[in-house]
Symmetry: C3
Subunit: 216 residues, 3 copies
């Protein structure tokens, strides 16, 4: 049951990630091909990186391209809508809230997926699985930004990767202690969602070194 919930969150996440990729592509003045590639890489690039790191080649996205297809459909709907209307539908606030929730559920699902991609092939070291969970969750957005020639947002903006990391760690630990994939997935994804919500609600950001002219 939990895993079909995770499957549904995967779907929402894929759509949210593809929208974010498509919007960055449009902002950066890409053509429809670039917008499609950016949507696909945002949605599937994290999982692709994970699969290359664990030697699962070709990566899942190429063998079973259902999420690629969903990302492409999403990208073209976004492109056609903006091409026709020049602006996104609805109030900006409602849209942002919708995207926030899809994105957050997607981040949670992708993180849990990444952890189990490691565990299921017998690689259950804590550090490796935490990395696999986090890179599956945030890697696509990082590649999107590199392709769009901008500094990856996860390095300077919001609590995003730092919601994925504790979620991934908790998933591994819960799986080890409880021996249940369902419970571990539930605990891990709730952790990601909770941290994201609290961080956005209180407008938390990670500390930076304050700028002082001419220093460093």
């Amino acid at each position: 049951m939990v895993f079909s919930v995770i499957g549904f969150m995967d779907l929402l996440g894929t759509i949210a990630f593809a929208i974010s990729g498509a919007l960055v592509g449009v902002k950066r003045d890409m053509d429809i091909f670039g917008v499609n590639i950016l949507a696909v890489i945002t949605a599937c690039g994290g999982g692709m990186t994970r699969d290359i790191v664990i030697g699962k080649e070709p990566p899942v996205m190429f063998v079973n391209p259902i999420y690629v297809l969903i990302a492409v459909i999403t990208a073209n709907i976004v492109f056609l809508y903006l091409y026709t209307n020049r602006r996104l539908p609805g109030s900006k606030k409602a849209l942002n809230a919708l995207l926030f929730w899809c994105d957050t559920l997607g981040l949670a699902a992708f993180t849990v997926d990444g952890v189990f991609a490691g565990i299921n092939i017998g690689m259950n070291r804590l550090f490796l699985c935490t990395f696999l969970g986090t890179v599956t969750g945030v890697g696509g957005g990082a590649i999107r930004d590199i392709f769009a020639n901008q500094m990856p947002e996860i390095f300077w903006k919001n609590i995003y990767a730092m919601a994925s990391v504790p979620g991934a760690i908790l998933t591994v630990l819960a799986w080890r202690m409880l021996g249940s994939e369902n419970k571990a997935a539930l605990i891990g994804s709730l952790c990601v969602i909770l941290v994201r919500c609290i961080a956005v609600h209180y407008d938390w950001n990670l500390p930076k070194v304050p700028k002082r002219s001419g220093q460093v």
Copy 2:
């Protein structure tokens, strides 16, 4: 016979891709080492990406570095020529036409090569082979641009990747229907060349979302 034609087109393509990499390196004020690396990655980076995706490690470029050598020789000729003369030889128009043809033949050959790299190890799914053909054709140029800290041209400029994609699809379908590598390679590469020529002749570009100040 067709495959030795493809081999010749590979050679032209390697030289054209290496020249394009070397020129970007010089434009971006790189030193001779950077110019060489940019030429090699433009010529061989697509094939390297393809090999990593299908788990063929180490990639062909490291085991049989003949194309690396050709790219390095090309890069140093370009560098020395520009170092001495400060400008490219001949009329700009004739040079662009020459580079266009080498580049187009190279794109066609690399696309077909990429498709058969997948087919020859038994991975003959349409989506995977299309990706392998396209990434072999356009991946090197994309990595070149990322290394040069500029947005990949394939995302915003000309019909380039969109000549490779239908060529790759046709190669797979022709191979499936005709059972002949030669015929499939011929059909696929002709498709790439044709689309490129038509697109350049009519100055086609893929659609973009028109800019409106403050939107998106």
Copy 3:
């Protein structure tokens, strides 16, 4: 004995590379998460790239994350120090000299490590091993720059990669001729150190094509 010296140089190199990554992260206004990732990727990204190229998956850094841990500790010390003091300790000259030596010893050790990573799994071709040595030495810094959205320094600044390349070649040749890992490691690393020192002492740079307005 030589290999425990190399091990010590690895440690110094990891710290120096992590400091360089952390400083770039702070300069580019990243938060503490970004600073940590940049430190880790600078210290371990070269080895990770090498492992993916030779199909050693998951890469060593995930299986035995001791150098990741060292990089993380280093990054947080740098971050906390700058957060509190806003500037680096000591005289700028002394600090630069210290960093130069750690970095140079690290470059030498990483280069030799990379060569033997290839040799030890039976891949002893000269070109492949030279690439493996060089990418282990300079790849982390290149990924750091791409993540920080700036053109990789190795393409335009100083004799850096060009100290690693001859060191890697010498390591392979010495190992082939002398049959001793210790001697080959010694010769290769001395070569890297020597080239770096001479290049910095005489302020050598690789040639570039001089700029002329409107050309190329």
